[in-house]
């Protein structure tokens, strides 16, 4: 009894001193700590899921993507879909026509962007990612969107996005990492085809992808493309084949899913 009490006091003192210091511990600091409480261990788990979704949350993932492929640098990159967004939820979204809490928002990402199955609200994966988002959102104002969130909206260029021009740009600037067939390489994720996000994903939107590409791609020489080039590449990606939108309902999709399962069993699709 007394021993428990002393341990509890020591823990409390430790956490109070950490709070007094005012600095948010980095993930590395958290990982180095010998003792993590439930919330802290969930932050680390959530960070691991965001960085290596394939390894830490394989249960609900159907594509070959990781969260950090879009939420760049583990969701810490402004204008690269940063994840410090807890303050803006719950909010109504046209996508599913209901008021979305943070949990439902995360689950949607698994269903659409990761082309997987929707995890339940109370699944450990969703809880962990929510804890990580909570951790990243420290210092943000509740109800106000964080600075430079999402991706920039590109101004009108006066010319429609053109997939044909986009395909040329893709071959020059993108194919080296994403592959000529868009199936990704060790350096970059697939951008279309069975291993990529599905047609219901937020990324399957020309304006948004154009903003993302312009602000963040090609990696290492960001903002080198013109607005028009980014729009063209986005249009090129938009016309590629990718897994169906799970909101459209058709029994034929069942056959597609089974085929996908069989092919993944023989090692063709998802590893």
């Amino acid at each position: 009894m007394t021993r428990n009490w002393w341990c509890a006091m020591a823990l409390a003192a430790f956490s109070f001193s950490a709070m007094a210091a005012g600095a948010r511990p980095t993930i590395e600091e958290l990982k180095a700590r010998p003792v993590l409480d439930d919330y802290e261990s969930n932050i680390v788990y959530g960070y691991n899921i965001v960085m290596e979704t394939q390894r830490y949350a394989p249960r609900y993932v159907g594509s070959r993507l990781n969260c950090t492929n879009c939420h760049l640098k583990g969701g810490t990159q402004p204008e690269g879909f940063p994840l410090n967004v807890e303050g803006v939820y719950p909010r109504w979204r046209a996508k599913n026509g209901v008021r979305n809490g943070l949990g439902l928002r995360i689950r949607d990402c698994f269903l659409y962007s990761l082309n997987g199955v929707m995890p339940p609200e109370e699944s450990p994966e969703v809880q962990a990612v929510a804890a990580y988002i909570h951790y990243l959102s420290e210092g943000e104002v509740i109800g106000r969107p964080p600075d430079r969130w999402g991706v920039p909206t590109l101004p009108e260029t006066g010319s429609d996005p053109n997939p044909a021009r986009g395909s040329v740009v893709y071959k020059q600037k993108c194919a080296a990492c994403h592959g000529a067939d868009g199936q990704g390489t060790a350096a970059a994720p697939p951008v279309w085809g069975p291993g990529s996000y599905n047609a219901g994903a937020g990324m399957n939107n020309v304006q948004r992808v154009a903003g993302f590409i312009w602000a963040n791609m090609p990696l290492g020489s960001e903002r080198s493309l013109t607005h028009q080039e980014a729009l063209d590449v986005a249009a090129f990606l938009h016309i590629q084949l990718r897994p169906f939108d799970p909101r459209t309902t058709n029994l034929w999709k069942l056959v597609e899913r089974i085929a996908q399962a069989v092919s993944s069993f023989f090692g063709a699709g998802k590893p």
């Binding site: 021993r3 428990n4 341990c7 010998p34 003792v35 993590l36 409480d37 439930d38 261990s41 969930n42 680390v44 788990y45 394989p58 249960r59 609900y60 993932v61 159907g62 599913n96 269903l111 997987g116 199955v117 929707m118 995890p119 339940p120 609200e121 109370e122 699944s123 450990p124 809880q127 962990a128 799970p246 909101r247 459209t248 309902t249 058709n250 029994l251 999709k253 069942l254 899913r257 089974i258 399962a261 069989v262 993944s264 069993f265 998802k270």
Partner: protein
């Protein structure tokens, strides 16, 4: 000399006894092993869900805990994930960490390790003897109570009430009845109804494989709904990708935090260890009586202890012997540990083949399995004979009530106490046969005379101190010093009053 003999005996229990190889009927063992593997897969997934861990863990438990228990043991008993143990694990760890979170899994690992250690300690102290005193009424009571618990915990999944975590099952009924239009998911209800309906309809015909068929029917139904109406409309929860690792070896982390946790759950560790062993030993006792007379109960305790202690190293949780799977294996001709060993390997193969299809297994179908397993644990055939005697009926009812309404570990304690109390009550029952020969009274005593039972006799002897009585103690197997002193006191009283008391010991 005796010490060396004891140590040699224990050594014999430690070393795997492979003598069964000589008398093995390979084909029947292999067939029953394969059937066991088919049976355990839906159960492993369901019990992992009960324990609050990923489904892979349940499969690892079926493989590694089952394999070790069979290899080290000497019986056709099938080990692996177990309902009551899973429920207890979840109930123990839940207050300390969020269900399924990394910390939760670490706590499950150290808990399983501790359970194994306690079971090995029980083996060292020759604890198998103790479990003889667990009365069949208490075991049936625990099984029935767990059945009720399972059916009630299936309610969330079958109705799609997932985000609700209510404490008592009548609360769940209340929520489902009063707010059904906003909480109950009709797609989940249809899926689980198909599963349960199918199971109940097929249980008579195919008593071995009905769970597998029910899961199949429920899975097809759920998948049909899922893909016909879409995930957004149906909100059906799917199992997700089951990614089995070929060699899931790991070393569980033990830090001061884990010690702190273990220190606070010591009662639960003992409850899990005792409950796991109690079930295994009841099965083993039954097999020893009916089928395999050379089963060594101590050896089974050792095998369970080692299997559970090793479980965290194979990324899984503690288990025990399984009533339903052992019954099926024995019915299909399993007589040696070979069927359990075959089953372990067959699970790996089956899970690997079925893996991609399991992804789309709807959780309401899994909840349906939970309900079916629960219904299978409540057996009218076992309960009815208990109501022929008051003691058995009382032990059974008290145990069932406390398991279902209090909690499982309290229920186990109640079961043990109730068995012992009613045994004592029965043992303290002393019958007096009185015959009068002239002035002398002869009292024939049947039963144990000790501190708890001597009252009735003393009361009779004290009614008239002037009498002349002879006690016939030839049918008293045990008479403790307290009873003797009471009788001596009465003799002194009688001598003062002019009476007489004599006794003839048997």
């Amino acid at each position: 000399m005796r010490a060396t003999a004891a140590i040699l005996g224990m050594l014999r229990e430690v070393i795997p006894d492979l003598r069964w190889r000589r008398a093995v009927d390979g084909r029947r063992e292999i067939v029953s092993g394969l059937a066991g593997a088919l049976l355990v897969i839906p159960q492993a997934i369901t019990f992992a869900y009960l324990a609050g861990v990923p489904p892979e863990f349940g499969l690892y438990c079926a493989v590694f805990v089952g394999l070790l228990a069979s290899l080290l043991g000497n019986s056709p008993m099938v080990g692996g994930p177990n309902t009551s143990v899973s429920i207890l694990i979840a109930a123990t760890v839940m207050p300390f960490s969020g269900r399924g979170s990394p910390l939760y899994l670490e706590f499950v690992f150290v808990l399983s390790l501790a359970v194994g250690v306690v079971q090995l300690a029980i083996w060292l102290l020759r604890g198998a003897h103790l479990f003889r005193y667990f009365s069949p009424a208490a075991i049936t009571g625990i099984k029935t109570g767990v059945g009720i618990l399972l059916i009630s915990s299936a309610l969330e999944g079958t109705l799609g009430l997932a985000p609700l975590s209510t404490q008592f099952f009548y609360e769940k009924f209340d929520v489902a009845l009063t707010a059904w239009d906003s909480t109950v998911n009709p797609y989940a209800v249809v899926t689980s109804a198909v599963t349960i309906g199918c199971g109940l309809a097929l249980r008579r015909r195919w008593c071995r494989s009905y769970i597998m068929l029910a899961v199949l029917a429920g899975g097809v139904m759920g998948c049909g709904l899922y893909f016909a109406y879409g995930p957004v409309t149906t909100q059906l929860e799917l199992l997700g990708h089951v990614t089995l690792r070929a060699w899931p070896f790991q070393v569980p982390r033990v830090t001061p935090q884990h010690w702190l946790f273990l220190e606070q759950v010591i009662p639960s560790i003992f409850a899990i260890a005792v409950l796991g062993l109690a079930q295994s030993l009841v099965i083993a006792r039954d097999l020893k009586a009916r089928i395999a007379p050379d089963i060594d109960l101590h050896k089974e305790v050792f095998a369970q202890g080692v299997a559970n202690m090793a479980s965290p190293f194979f990324s899984t949780f503690a288990g025990s012997g399984s009533f339903n799977r052992t019954a099926v294996a024995v019915e299909m001709g399993a007589r040696t540990p070979l069927s359990g060993i075959v089953a372990a390997f067959a699970v790996v193969l089956l899970a690997w083949v079925l893996g991609p299809l399991l992804t789309y297994l709807p959780m309401p179908a899994v909840a349906g399995v939970l309900a079916l397993v629960g219904m299978g644990m409540i057996r009218r055939r076992e309960i009815r004979p208990l109501f022929q005697s008051f003691g058995d009926a009382a032990v059974f009812s008290v145990t069932t009530f406390s398991v279902a309404f209090l909690d499982l570990s309290t229920g186990i304690l109640v079961a043990v106490v109730a068995s012992v109390v009613f045994f004592m009550v029965r043992a303290s029952d002393v019958k007096l046969t009185i015959s009068v020969e002239g002035e002398q009274e002869r009292i024939a005593v049947t039963g144990n005379l000790y501190y708890a039972s001597v009252d009735g006799l003393a009361k009779h002897l004290r009614t008239d101190p002037t009498r002349d009585s002879v006690l016939d103690l030839s049918r008293v197997p045990y008479c403790d010093p307290f009873a003797v002193s009471v009788m001596e006191a009465i003799r002194a009283e009688r001598e003062r009053a002019g009476g007489r008391l004599e006794w003839a010991a048997g």
